[in-house]
């Protein structure tokens, strides 16, 4: 099996794995459909913005939860934004955790919120690793054609 075929197979298998494990849903496929020769880096660009936004939001949530008097509405606002952006790129597991997180904000339960934030950070870093691997495969595929 030549390098190209092997890389393509790895890409296909990894994408299928991410879908099966629920990391990504149909929305990610929608993004991939929007990519073409006119915007060959569309998905990577969108995801890169998502990474920047996410890190900011996660830090904002942590900061808000560390206040002496926690403003749960503020925490919820950050989680709501994160939920929106994760839904937009098809990050299903992250999005679902955000939904859970918002319930804890509404209940104003600090302990649950802190626990949820920890889970969210973890889930997000898993996703980031997976997507970075996927993009690396794509780079290798493009390079293999030269």
């Amino acid at each position: 099996m030549d390098v190209m075929t092997q890389l393509q197979r790895q890409w296909r298998e990894h994408t299928a794995y991410l879908r099966k494990e629920g990391y990504l849903d149909d929305q990610f496929e929608q993004l991939q459909k929007l990519q073409d020769e006119n915007s060959p880096d569309f998905v990577a660009e969108v995801v890169s913005i998502f990474f920047d936004d996410s890190e900011k939001l996660l830090n904002n949530m942590a900061g808000a939860l560390e206040q002496k008097v926690v403003d749960f509405k503020q925490v919820d606002a950050h989680v709501h934004q994160f939920k929106g952006s994760s839904a937009s790129i098809g990050a299903m597991r992250v999005k679902n955790l955000c939904i859970e997180f918002r319930n804890h904000c509404e209940a104003q339960s600090l302990e649950e919120c802190v626990r949820c934030l920890r889970k969210l950070r973890y889930e997000y870093s898993l996703l980031k690793n997976q997507l970075e691997y996927l993009f690396k495969l794509e780079q290798q595929i493009r390079a293999a054609v030269v």
Partner: protein, 147 residues
């Protein structure tokens, strides 16, 4: 579709193929305005419209949407997010209608609680985020009809 440097199309990366954009004849004369404060949504909506051959502009909130109309511009379609800083989608829709703007305004949101108020403000259609090609095509069918 990702094109290799030799020009061959990488079939596997074109997944389900170009099916969606062939459902409707690209109405190349239609113009649209994207009103959304979120960068990711801006990029996605802009690209969705580009792909369907629709010239479009992006603004960040309701006030900018009003301003662009005051500058004399008009659009066939407005994709209006609901929750935005400075001026939200409900207020912006109300004001645009009060200004006599007859464009098709499609609300795009995740806030189901405010949906009724949003519709009452003057929407022609409402779609749940995230927007997809097929949701956009269903909105465009309406634009064409009232044409």
């Amino acid at each position: 579709m990702l094109k290799s440097k030799t020009g061959m199309e990488d079939g596997f990366l074109s997944s389900v193929g170009a099916g969606d954009s062939t459902m409707l004849e690209p109405p190349t004369k239609i113009t649209a305005l994207v009103v959304d404060d979120d960068t990711i949504n801006q990029m996605i909506h802009h690209r969705l419209l580009d792909n369907l051959g629709i010239r479009n502009q992006v603004v960040r909130n309701g006030k900018e949407a009003i301003d662009v109309h005051c500058s004399g511009k008009n659009f066939d379609l407005i994709l209006m997010d609901m929750e935005m800083p400075v001026m939200n989608g409900i207020e912006a829709t109300r004001q645009l209608r009060a200004m006599g703007i007859r464009s098709m305004i499609a609300g795009v949101s995740t806030n189901t609680r405010e949906r009724e108020n949003f519709m009452k403000a003057g929407l022609d259609d409402y779609q749940e985020k995230p927007l997809t090609t097929s949701k956009l095509v269903s909105i465009l069918h309406k634009v064409h009809k009232d044409g």
